[in-house]
């Protein structure tokens, strides 16, 4: 082995050792951070697959969001959008996924996965995955998306999820009232266990369209044992098929 080879090998060893040291320090920091939160708040056990189907909460029933009692107070901008909205242009007919605050109430199953630095919420509807960051990170301009950017914390026996950085969504309020939501939409979810039930209170704010926050509470029950979420694989042809059955608002 030449001197050049020996010097090259030494440099590689030093690089490897430095990288390992940096990784160890980062890991130690992450463990310390999670450990500190664990000490301050009890981590609510939300892990599992949850049934949000019609047996748990009646489809189109009296307790669904939004009822006359909790329907948000819309401003003139929202009313104007609602006035001109035509159901045929709803993005769901092209398989664009449902988002907060509607996806939580879609009558399908979902799954909670809890990691030390994040909570993953998987929805059977539209194959959606939301990541709730628990490590204190903050969103960047690259984090605007249809599901937004979520951060979370444990508070007492509950998980609090705060989501911002939504993109404008022409049916972002829910998927059947023709009310849009803006980039200023924020959604706060509080999840907790009540016996075998998983409960959630959701509060929605959007100063571009709502005069005041709106809120609803719903629940899930444990899915049958060993149930795994099935692929949704939305078919755009079938999603749009029934649109021709409507009498269009505009011709």
């Amino acid at each position: 082995m030449s001197d050049t080879d020996i010097r090259g090998s030494s440099r590689r060893l030093i690089c490897l050792a430095t990288t390992a040291a940096l990784l160890a320090a980062a890991f130690q920091g992450a463990v310390t951070q999670v450990g500190a939160q664990t000490a301050e708040a009890e981590i609510a056990d939300l892990v599992g697959v949850w049934d949000g189907g019609p047996r748990v909460r009646r489809v189109n029933g009296p307790n669904m969001p939004w009822t006359p009692e909790n329907f948000p107070v819309l401003n003139e901008r929202a009313l104007a959008f609602q006035q001109v909205f035509d159901e045929a242009i709803a993005p769901k007919y092209d398989c664009v996924p449902s988002a907060s605050p509607a996806i939580q109430y879609d009558p399908y199953f979902m799954e909670f996965v809890q990691w030390p630095d994040r909570v993953l919420i998987r929805y059977e509807k539209d194959d959606q995955l939301r990541t709730v960051w628990m490590d204190g990170r903050e969103p960047t301009l690259a984090d605007y998306s249809i599901q937004g950017f979520s951060v979370g914390r444990y508070e007492g026996d509950a998980l609090i999820v705060e989501t911002s950085h939504f993109v404008f969504d022409i049916t972002g309020f829910d998927d059947y009232n023709g009310i849009p939501s803006s980039q200023l939409k924020t959604v706060t979810e509080r999840y907790w266990r009540d016996g075998e039930e998983l409960r959630m209170t959701l509060t929605l704010e959007d100063p571009l369209f709502l005069r005041e926050p709106a809120s609803y509470t719903t629940r899930w029950l444990p899915a049958p044992e060993d149930y795994r979420l099935a692929p949704y694989e939305c078919d755009p042809e079938e999603a749009r098929r029934s649109v021709k059955f409507m009498i269009p608002k505009y011709r």
């Binding site: 019609p54 769901k92 059977e124 059947y176 079938e238 098929r241 029934s242 021709k244 059955f245 009498i247």
Partner: protein, 129 residues
């Protein structure tokens, strides 16, 4: 005889009702923009194809309209993921099966859509194999 007919009708309603209640609900958004819940329509014919998909499955029936003209009925059903949990598979209904669907008619003139339907064999018996 009338009593026998009444009993037969009652049994048919119970059977149909069972089949109907075993169907998963359609997605939570309202079907009202597409279908008229104040009306009822019946489609009897032969299954052309059964599309078991998300967000909604569809059943295509070669049958007749009220004027006796040959039409293709498009019967909207639930999401495949929900129907599968209720025991449905893509083979629950097969091309060539004789079938009857009673439900809400589609709103747009000249279309033959049906929603929220009760699906049975033409004699009212269960479609379950």
């Amino acid at each position: 005889m009338k009593r026998l007919l009444w009993i037969s009708s009652l049994v048919a309603v119970v059977v149909v009702g069972f089949v109907f209640t075993s169907l998963p609900a359609v997605a939570h958004h309202s079907s009202a923009p597409f279908y008229d819940p104040t009306k009822s329509v019946e489609a009897i014919g032969v299954v052309e194809r059964f599309v078991f998909r998300n967000p909604h499955s569809f059943l295509f029936i070669d049958g007749e309209n009220a004027d006796g003209e040959a039409v293709e009925w498009e019967v909207e059903l639930g999401a495949a993921v929900s129907m599968r949990r209720a025991g449905w598979t893509p083979e629950t209904i097969r091309a060539g099966d004789s079938i009857r669907a009673v439900g809400q008619p589609s709103r747009a003139p000249g279309t033959y859509g049906i929603c929220c339907s009760r699906i049975t064999r033409p004699d009212g018996s269960s479609i379950r194999r």
